[in-house]
Symmetry: C2
Subunit: 113 residues, 2 copies
DNA sequence: CGTTAACTATTGGGTATCCGATACATTTAA
DNA sequence: TTAAATGTATCGGATACCCAATAGTTAACG
């Protein structure tokens, strides 16, 4: 899986933020990460990095719901997905592709012609 | 383009609502639709249909920003995307695929193996 | 003709996400 | 040693989206 920087720039016509918990769980399903690392990874994809005021409360909530757990490791606090979180994100990714897949397919088909 | 019903069921682990304006513009870029038709189309994809209290204020806002226009046609009010809206959604779709494309790619690659 | 169904639109209260600011802690650099 | 950088976390106010309820209109149905 490529680690390249996406350099996306959010469009002006509509707010495309949101689904933060989904993105957090998805990223953590790949590997554990600390808060700012997560923010940076989200920023790579979305073009804007969530502020501390956004990311930490979201992490706190996911932790409260036992979808992730945290562990101080050196100078950082790494967040790990739980088994419950892993099951949840599996379902969520399936849903995501069902709900939005057509948009993506449309662009791929346009790219082929 | 298929018109099949997706029957998606929203996951419990994270809130995946949002980006309503984006979805509205995208659907309207295909063809004009009236309010409840839009709600139904969104419901087909997301498994839950936005309520009138959600869809109409969003349409009102998009209209206010000149991204769509409305026209009473028979018993319904059809919404049409403007040229400005069409340009906007083009950009937004590009952004969407950059920001979230990896999730689709991941699932497609998993489906191939 | 009366009833039902479908559509339009608003309102009030709620929620996830968001920004910006702030404060603190620890490591790194000067 | 001090300053800068990096990370953690909270708080207050804002925004897009959300639900449920309500009310009105009009076409379709019985």
């Amino acid at each position: 899986m490529s680690k390249e920087n996406y350099d996306a720039c959010p469009p002006k016509c509509c707010d495309m933020r949101g689904m933060l918990s989904f993105l957090i769980l998805w990223l953590l399903s790949k590997r554990p990460m600390y808060g700012q690392e997560l923010a940076k990874e989200i920023g790579k994809r979305r073009g804007t990095k969530p502020n501390p005021g956004t990311i930490y409360p979201a992490l706190k909530e996911l932790k409260k719901r036992s979808l992730i757990k945290s562990k101080k490791e050196g100078r950082v606090t790494n967040y790990h997905i739980t088994e419950e979180g892993r099951k949840g994100i599996q379902t969520a990714c399936e849903y995501f592709c069902k709900a939005f897949g057509e948009i993506f397919q449309e662009r791929m088909e346009a790219a082929k012609s």
